[in-house]
């Protein structure tokens, strides 16, 4: 292998964003998108731990079909509600956009920061306040409504912590909206010269589509939970049927946000997968425009399918048919992505490292998660499957098996960039394997449970279901072990990890063209932009133990259209 003798693209910088200023205050008041992203990351991972412990408690209870002494039915209700609410509002929704997106987006654009750095920091503190409300609600009696807060249970019954957690959700919504506004403006106004919309990394297209949903759907959730709080406080409201209100109206409002919210969770994950697949198979992404437009198509569809959560709520049969039909069509842009990723892998030189293994896990799990959505969109089968474990398994395949797996994959992909250290590849692969096996054990069995009629959210169940619950719970322990190992080797790498090169994977987008970790202001000058999926000018450099990119060749290839 010849070492490239052209001048090193990466200039050695002594200071990086982590060491630029020191002390706690320099973090608390930072306006640096990278530091805000890192703070989000640790906050989100901390919440993931709490939500995960709740899930393990629920799964452990379900080892036994009857009552257990250490967990009453009420406590069980609170545990699964807490698990759902934490995972949705505190973990998955902010995980990719606010944590990884915050870190990567401006660097991918060659910009110094997001468009509104102050608003970015403000949005982080809103997240903190929202999370604090959720914690407070636990002390005020917890909440047991399920993460969907359906009326009249949430307004007339429900445990004492219902109002605080609703206030928390309201505030978290603001945080999400501000992130969305920030990203849209950043992508519109801060793209460097030469980066047209169709030269953007696909991760940015995904974040853009996500941000559109965040700003258009989240306000509806905000006003809905506000009305819910007022209704609970005054014992009357527009969702109260005894006074002429309409509880199904709540469901419409709630799902008008919460269905698009599912795409807030999955779209950024799909964006990460587009990056991982291309970079780790060193091959130009196949069907760039199709992937980009399919993100926008999914965002648009997301606003038209909320009624499929309400097939059994008594809405009119015509509405059911319409929502069912539109729901089917979501399969098209989703499948467009999967097939384009497959075509990218074909004849690629695939590096089976941890991010790639997570990307492949994603493709497998997302396909199952997506395809099991079809029987739920069919009106006749949904009547049978509604509110069973089949639904639970389906959305875990999408939310966890896809969105969260993509997040973990992206975390490994950008970990060297974020902290300047390499994690242990051996343990990374082991952990990924454990998570994959554990995940399928946990949730594939739940498809069988659900199709045999086991309802979701039940504390007790028929003894014949016990074997499935045993397998499922066993799988959840294996998964927990995988995540535990991940936490250990990632933390270990922070202290003892090998120093990371600027470009450990051979990526061609801009974040790989600044040092690891990046300097405080990312780039001294606005970088010039080539085709971020053209890897023809990327070479392994023995001396740096990383890849280098021949900028001139890269730019020339982009302007001549080579590499497509």
């Amino acid at each position: 292998m010849t070492t490239l003798d052209s001048r090193p693209v990466v200039t050695e910088v002594k200071d990086n964003y982590l060491t630029f200023t020191r002390g706690l205050l320099s973090w608390i008041f930072t306006l640096d998108h990278k530091r805000i992203g890192v703070m989000y990351l640790f906050a989100v991972l901390g919440s993931f731990f709490v939500g995960g412990v709740m899930a393990l408690l629920v799964r452990t209870k379900l080892l036994f079909p009857g009552k257990v002494e250490w967990m009453t039915a009420d406590e069980y209700n609170k545990a699964f509600t807490l698990h759902g609410a934490i995972m949705v509002f505190l973990v998955i929704i902010p995980s990719i956009p606010a944590a990884l997106g915050n870190f990567v987006l401006p660097i991918m654009l060659g910009a110094k920061d997001v468009a509104f750095p102050r608003m970015n920091l403000f949005s982080f503190y809103l997240w903190v306040v929202g999370a604090a409300c959720a914690v407070y609600s636990l002390m005020a009696g917890g909440f047991d409504t399920g993460w969907t807060f359906y009326t009249p249970y949430s307004t007339q019954y429900g445990a004492g912590g219902t109002i605080p957690v609703l206030v928390g959700v309201f505030i978290l919504g603001f945080s999400s909206i501000f992130t969305g506004v920030n990203f849209i403006v950043t992508i519109h106004k801060l793209r460097p010269p030469g980066m047209t919309w169709f030269r953007m990394p696909l991760f940015l297209w995904a974040l853009y589509a996500t941000a559109l949903i965040q700003i258009l759907a989240t306000p509806v959730l905000g006003i809905t939970v506000a009305l819910l709080v007022i209704e609970r406080a005054f014992n009357i409201g527009i969702f109260d049927p005894s006074m002429g209100g309409d509880p199904v109206l709540f469901q419409h409002f709630f799902w008008f946000y919460s269905h698009p919210a599912v795409y807030i969770m999955i779209l950024p994950g799909m964006g990460i997968i587009s990056e991982l697949i291309a970079v780790h198979s060193h091959r130009h992404i196949f069907g760039y425009r199709f992937i980009a437009f399919s993100s926008v198509a999914i965002a648009i569809f997301s606003f038209l399918v909320w009624g499929h959560h309400m097939f059994t709520s008594g809405q009119s049969p015509l509405m059911n048919v319409l929502f069912s039909a539109i729901t089917f069509s979501v399969a098209i842009p989703s499948a467009v992505k999967v097939f384009n990723w497959l075509a990218t892998l074909y004849k690629g030189s695939i590096a089976f490292n941890t991010p790639m293994l997570y990307a492949l896990s994603f493709m497998f799990l997302f396909t199952i998660g997506g395809l099991t959505g079809i029987p739920l969109a069919v009106l006749s089968t949904d009547i049978h499957l509604h509110d069973t474990y089949f639904v639970v398994a389906h959305f875990h395949y999408v939310m966890m098996g896809s969105a969260l797996i993509a997040m973990i994959g992206g975390l490994h992909h950008w970990w060297p960039k974020m902290f300047g250290v390499m994690y242990n590849e051996f343990w990374g692969k082991i952990a990924c394997g454990l998570v994959f096996v554990g995940f399928n054990m946990t949730f594939f069995t739940q498809f069988m449970l659900g199709s045999q009629g086991m309802p979701r959210r039940y504390y007790m169940y028929q003894p014949e279901f016990q074997i499935y619950h045993h397998i499922s719970t066993g799988g959840s322990y294996i998964m927990a072990l995988g995540f535990l190992i991940t936490a250990i080797y990632l933390i270990h790498s922070l202290f003892a990890g090998k120093k990371a090169p600027a470009n450990p994977w051979g990526g061609a987008s801009l974040e790989w063209q600044c040092t690891s970790p990046p300097p405080h202001d990312n780039f001294a000058t606005t970088p010039r932009v080539g085709d971020c999926y053209d890897f023809s000018a990327v070479r392994w450099d023995e001396k740096q133990q990383g890849y280098v990119i021949d900028t001139e060749a890269h730019l020339a290839a982009a302007s001549s259209g080579k590499g497509h």
Partner: protein
């Protein structure tokens, strides 16, 4: 805060580019607020239409005429706000007085809303009586909350305008303030019309 970041509160080198980004962000923010108000109005219309004539209790008072006055006050405040913005754009020192007038009218609007609420309450219309009362208080309250939330930035803008701080080179703050204010004005007209039609 000795160890503060360097003042990197904007990634834009060019003030004009920064202003354009701010304007765009402000439009998106107003879009978000529009979604909030539109969905609230839809919720109101659903329960209003569902219940038909039964929505309005026989002895329920109509929306007070005072709301007509507050509507007028708000419309005038939009005019003074726009004049203040025009003065701010060219560095005209009258921007200060016009902003003070806008602020005074905003306060007058809030006081009028408060008095209207008190009138209704004294006519025995409590929020927890029926949906007619609940929706009236909640819808007007939602708008009032947004006016209230606009006061701190408006105070800052007024203070800066009183020192004639806005000029051709920098009129970002007063522009954002005006956008928000006109939005609240427009939304109020829609909301008020909805409530008046809904209480017939």
């Amino acid at each position: 805060m000795a160890q503060h970041d360097t003042p990197s509160d904007t990634p834009f080198g060019d003030p004009k580019a920064r202003f354009e980004a701010g304007l765009f962000g402000m439009w998106l923010f107003l879009l978000v607020l529009a979604v909030v108000f539109i969905s609230t109005i839809i919720g109101y219309l659903v329960v209003r239409i569902d219940n038909g004539a039964a929505f309005i209790p026989a002895d329920a008072p109509k929306p007070p005429l005072l709301l007509l006055v507050s509507t007028g006050v708000l419309l005038v405040s939009s005019v003074t706000m726009q004049k203040a913005l025009r003065a701010g754009r060219v560095g005209d020192p009258r921007q200060g007085g016009l902003m003070v007038a806008t602020l005074a009218l905003a306060l007058a609007f809030l006081i009028a809303q408060g008095v209207a609420w008190r009138d209704l309450y004294e006519q025995n219309l409590a929020i927890s009586d029926n949906l007619y009362a609940w929706t009236f208080y909640v819808l007007t309250g939602l708008h009032a909350a947004h006016v209230l939330g606009g006061l701190p930035p408006m105070l800052i803008t007024t203070w800066r305008a009183s020192r004639a701080a806005y000029g051709p080179d920098d009129h970002r703050g007063i522009t954002y303030c005006a956008m928000y204010w006109h939005f609240l004005d427009g939304i109020w007209v829609v909301l008020y019309a909805t409530l008046v039609l809904g209480s017939r």
